[in-house]
């Protein structure tokens, strides 16, 4: 039962990872690809990590898993911003397509 | 079914070969440094592959310790080479 639930979570996580990859391959510009990678992969990792969590018995390891997920979440949010700004510095033309308050 | 140790070992040899080739063919010194580092990874890969005995068996710890040492020495050598390069470029500017 636990195994089945765990696998369900892991495979739903995989679906999000795959969606992120398809986004990377199909989306037209850097900012969209950035969006695909950060959003899909964070959800994917969250689901996958909860699936793995069910298989662990040591509370310390569970805590570590939670820490890893929070870290990736926070890091990709800020890291994504940094990369986006970097992309805009390099391709100022993309800035024109942004909504007014994001410039 | 090919054994992963054999596959990764062969890849290590190929990577080392690519590193040697690029180290000779490339003229740019930073590129040569990259090449020497890729060569090193190839050698490490051969070592770790020979230490691997399947998913259920503990690997041989001695090559692991060797490679760990090797990684630190490689980065120290890279740093020294980059400092030499910088000193050289500075002296060329003068």
């Amino acid at each position: 039962m636990l195994d089945a639930l765990s696998l369900l979570l892991i495979f739903s996580g995989l679906a999000f990872y795959l969606a992120g990859t398809i986004g990377v391959l199909r989306l037209p510009d850097t900012l969209c690809r950035l969006h695909a990678v950060t959003k899909a992969d964070n959800l994917g990792l969250g689901l996958l990590a909860s699936g793995v969590l069910l298989q662990l018995s040591d509370p310390l390891q569970m805590l570590k898993l939670l820490l890893i997920w929070l870290l990736v979440l926070a890091a990709s949010a800020t890291g994504g911003q940094l990369i986006a700004r970097h992309a805009l510095d390099e391709r100022p033309d993309q800035r024109a397509e942004l909504p007014e308050d994001a410039k | 079914m090919p054994d992963p140790a054999t596959l990764y070992g062969l890849l290590g040899i190929v990577l080392a070969g690519l590193g040697v080739h690029a180290a000779i063919v490339q003229r740019d010194s930073i590129r040569r440094l990259l090449a020497i580092n890729v060569m090193g990874v190839g050698v490490f890969l051969v070592l770790i592959a020979t230490a691997y005995f399947g998913p259920d068996q503990d690997p041989d710890p001695i090559p692991h310790a060797l490679v760990l040492t090797g990684i630190v020495v490689a980065v120290a050598a890279t740093a020294l080479a980059l400092a030499l390069l910088r000193a050289f470029e500075r002296s060329e500017d003068e």
Binding site: - | L11, V25, Q26, T69, A74, A83, L84, L85, R86, R90
Partner: protein
């Protein structure tokens, strides 16, 4: 688990490594080449994990990719724009060298496959496992590094020190970076304590699980490099004189312990089994500090600015 079941994963990872290596070696733009090399290092760390070498995966992620990457990117920043693309050898040389190297690779591959038949989990590995109780630690890699082959590790610390001396004698440090924009600074601000905690954890856990002085030192050095990237070189770091002292301390403590063992047992670096655990922890503590400060000082790329005035010829 059925052997060979992960074959498809292996093939994927091998393909990736090859593509990234070729990219890192032959990319037209040097900047792309460096980025690809760093990404290559991250993939290699995954491969180490796959080959049951977590000790090395930790070191590769921290040193092979992180620190080496920071060094190379700093070197790129130093370069003049015009020096971006030095010429490559003429095509006939590329092909000729390629043919010779291909021959060598085939020869080596043949030798490797020939030896592969009689490969066994060697007698040395059995010796290590049989003597693990007297080593003072239960992680076999740490036992080899700090007890059975302590010579190698002592000499390795010396190599690191020699590299540091070389770097410091070659010229002044890079000027500090500008202060980072608020968002990057915020990210750096909470990553640094996390790296310090993770480093201390790896040092402690190294006695019985993957981790130890090298990984811990590398993470601490990464924390210092991050502070530098944020434009705050002196941010709560020990002063540079202290860093230099710490860089020597690892070698010094290691040598002293080795000499004490020489007096006690008549053999240099032969740790007494009852004390080995605590002595290894002592050595590792100082080795961690040494590795961290040496790697950071090496990253700074020269001697401190205060030395210029003392020499009387400021070279800027």
């Amino acid at each position: 688990m059925t052997p060979g079941a992960l074959l498809y994963l292996d093939l994927l990872m091998m393909g990736l490594m090859l593509v990234l290596a070729v990219g890192a070696l032959y990319a037209r733009s040097l900047r792309h080449a460096v980025i690809l090399f760093i990404v290559f290092g991250l993939v290699v760390a995954l491969v180490w994990a796959r080959l049951r070498a977590p000790d090395i995966a930790l070191a590769e992620a921290a040193i092979g990719s992180g620190l080496a990457g920071a060094l190379l990117l700093a070197a790129l920043r130093d370069r003049r724009r015009g020096a971006e693309s030095a010429p490559r050898s003429p095509a006939w040389q590329v092909v000729a060298v390629g043919a010779v190297v291909a021959g060598l690779v085939l020869l080596l591959a043949w030798a490797f496959l020939d030896l592969q038949g009689e490969r066994a989990n060697g007698p040395l590995a059995d010796t290590v496992r049989a003597n693990l109780d007297v080593s003072g630690v239960s992680n076999p890699v740490t036992a080899v590094l700090l007890n059975f082959r302590a010579y190698d590790t002592l000499l390795e610390l010396t190599v690191l020190l020699a590299a540091l001396l070389g770097v410091m004698s070659l010229g002044p440090q890079r000027p500090p970076m500008d202060a980072a924009e608020p968002m990057a600074a915020g990210l750096i601000g909470w990553l640094i304590p996390l790296l310090i905690v993770a480093g201390s954890y790896l040092l402690w856990v190294g006695a019985h699980a993957p981790g130890g002085a090298f990984q811990a030192g590398a993470l601490l050095a990464a924390a210092a490099v991050l502070a530098d990237l944020g434009g705050r070189r002196e941010f709560r770091l020990p002063g540079q004189t202290w860093l230099r002292l710490l860089a020597v301390a690892g070698c010094a403590v290691f040598t002293l312990v080795g000499l004490a063992a020489l007096i006690g047992s008549g053999v240099l670096l032969q740790l007494p089994p009852d004390w080995a655990g605590s002595l290894i922890l002592l050595i590792e503590l100082f080795a961690t500090a040494s590795i961290a400060s040496a790697l950071f000082l090496v990253y700074l790329g020269g001697h401190p600015p205060s030395w210029n005035s003392r020499e009387g010829h400021p070279d800027a």
